[in-house]
Amino acid sequence: MSANAQLQRRPDESALWASQKAFDVERVRADFPILNERVHGRALVYLDNAATTQKPEAVIEAINHYYRHDNANIHRGVHLLSQRATDAYESARAAVQRFLNAQSSSEIVFVRGATEAINLVAQTYGRSHIVSGDEVLITAMEHHSNIVPWQILCEEKGAKLRVAPVNDRGELLLEKLEELLSSRTKIVSIAHVSNALGTVNPIRQIVRLAHSRGIPVIVDGAQAAPHLPIDVQDLDCDFYAFSGHKIYGPTGIGVLYGKAELLEEMPPFQGGGDMISSVTFEKTIYNKVPHKFEAGTPDISGVIGLGAAIAYIDNLGKASIAEHEDELLSYATAQLEKIPGIRLVGTAREKVGALSFVMEGVHPHDIGTILDQEGIAVRTGHHCAQPIMDRFGIPATVRASFGLYNTKAEIDSLAAGIEKVKEILV
C-alpha cells in the first residue's frame, strides 16, 4: 500500500495530517547545511537518500551540545553529567518507542544499525530456536543484510534458507510465500520496503499468514522508516529493525524493536558491562531488557542524535513528509518514463522512496560518473541486493532515491543529466 493509502485507513494520522501546515520544502532545505555544498562547481542534487540521508542542523547541534555540555557515561555515575547523559539517552529511547508505537520503551534496543539488529535476532532468537532441518523464509528482494545473517545461521544449524519469489514488477508473490510456509519454517524475515526497487511489502498480511502457523516475523524497516508511518502494534510484527542514518540521524546507531516476551526469553547477544545485574566468577545474572542487549558503553551521542532526528521528523509530520515524497516519486517516474531508452526496474503498484532504472547500451557506472559531474548524486551498482539484480537479469541499476528535502526542480536536473549522458555516450 502507498503511504497515502495507509494513512487514509488511519483516522488519527489523517487528523494529524489535516492539522499540518503546508509542507514548505524551501524552509526544510534551509535546515540542512550540506545542501549548500557545491559539487564539481554545481549545486548539489542529492538523490542517494536510500544509502544515507543528510542531517539537519538540529541533529548536528544535539550531538555538538552533548559533547560540549553533557558528556559522561550512562547508567553508572552519581554525578550530574552522568545523570544528564542518562536522561538524554533514555528520553531518546522513549522517542523511538513513540516513533514505532511500541507498547513499552523496554522493547527498544539500541544497536549499530539495521544490519546489527538482524544479526542480533539471528544469533540469539535464531540460534536458540533453529535446529537441523528447520527453515528460514526470506524474499527475493532482500538486502544482503537480511540474507547473509540467515545463511550463517542456517549453515551452523543445518537449516535451510527458503526464498519467496517476486513478479516482473518486483512485487512479492504472496501466494508463493504462503506455499513456502510449513511446519519446518521457524522464522520469516522480510523487508518492509525494498532498497533496490522501492517496493512496499504487505507486512500486515504476511504477519497474519505467519502467525496463523505460529511463526514469528522480523521486519527489515531500513527503507520504510524514513518514508512510512510505522506502527509495530498494528503490523503485529515480532521484531522491527531500522537505521538512524537513513532517517536523518547519525551513522552508527540503529534500533531493534522486539516484543517484550520474546526479548525476555532470548539469550544475550554480547557480554560485558551494562548488560548484567550481578557478576561473580561462578554466575552472572543478566540485566533486564533492553539493557541485556546493550553490552558496553553504547553510542550515546548517536542515540541523542537519533532522538533529535525523530523530533525533527515529528515536527514536520510524517504524513506531510510522505505526501511530499509520494509526489516526488510520481513526478520522477513520469519524467523518466518519457526518456527513450530508459527502463524502470521495479514497477510495483505500491512503492516509496526509490526509483531504479537502466539505460539501453549504457552501464549504470558511466551514468553515475556523468551525473556526478553535473552535481547529481545517485547510487549505481547492485545496491547490496545482488539476488534481485539476478532476478531481473541485470548486473546493476542507477537508483535515484528521495528525501524530504528534494524538489521537482532536482528531478528536472536528473532528467537533464540523463540527456547529457546520451550526448556523451550514445
Binding site: 552501464h363 549504470p364 557506472h365 558511466d366 551498482g381 545482488q386 548486473p395 556523451i424 555516450l425
Partner: protein, 149 residues
C-alpha cells in the same frame, strides 16, 4: 576541474561500443575470472601462449564503458609480449591510472595513454584495472577469482 572528455575519449568510446577480442578462446593456455564487488562486474580472460610469448588474449563479461574499453585495448597491447614485458606494462598502466605514473611509465603505454584521464576519477580506477588484474592472475597461474578489492 576534471573534464568528462578526458575520461570518455573517442578511442575509449569506440572500443567500448565494439570491443576487440570479445570472445572465448577454445583451448586457452590459461584463463582467469575477475570480479569487481563494488559494481558486480565480471570479466573472464583467456590467454594462449607461443612458447613464453603471449599469442592471443580474449575476454568476456559485462561492464561499463571504461572496463570494456580497457579490456579490449589490453588484449591488443599484450599480443606478442613476453611475461616480463606484460608485467612491466601492467605496472606502468597501473601507475598512470592511479596518478603515480612517471614519464617512463607514460612512454610505455602507447595507445593506452588515453586512460591517463582516469586518475582524475578515483572511483573509476578499478573499472580500468579489472581486466589487467585478471590477466595477471591468468599469467601467473592464480586460480582463485581475483577481485579489485
Amino acid at each position: 576541474m576534471a573534464d568528462l572528455r578526458d575520461l570518455y575519449q573517442e578511442l575509449i568510446l569506440e572500443h567500448a561500443k565494439a570491443p576487440r577480442n570479445f570472445r572465448v578462446l577454445s583451448a586457452p593456455a590459461s584463463k582467469a575470472e575477475g570480479y569487481n564487488p563494488l559494481c558486480g562486474d565480471r570479466c573472464s580472460v583467456y590467454i594462449s601462449m607461443n612458447e613464453d610469448v603471449i599469442n592471443e588474449v580474449a575476454f568476456q563479461g559485462s561492464g561499463c564503458a571504461i572496463s570494456r574499453a580497457s579490456a579490449s585495448m589490453m588484449t591488443q597491447a599484450l599480443k606478442g609480449k613476453t611475461l616480463e614485458q606484460a608485467d612491466t606494462l601492467f605496472r606502468s598502466f597501473h601507475n598512470v591510472v592511479t596518478g603515480q605514473g612517471s614519464d617512463a611509465d607514460k612512454s610505455q603505454l602507447g595507445k593506452l595513454e588515453v586512460f591517463s584521464g582516469i586518475s582524475e576519477f578515483p572511483a573509476r580506477v578499478k573499472c580500468a584495472t579489472l581486466a589487467w588484474h585478471t590477466v595477471q592472475a591468468a599469467l601467473h597461474g592464480n586460480r582463485e577469482s581475483v577481485t579489485t578489492e
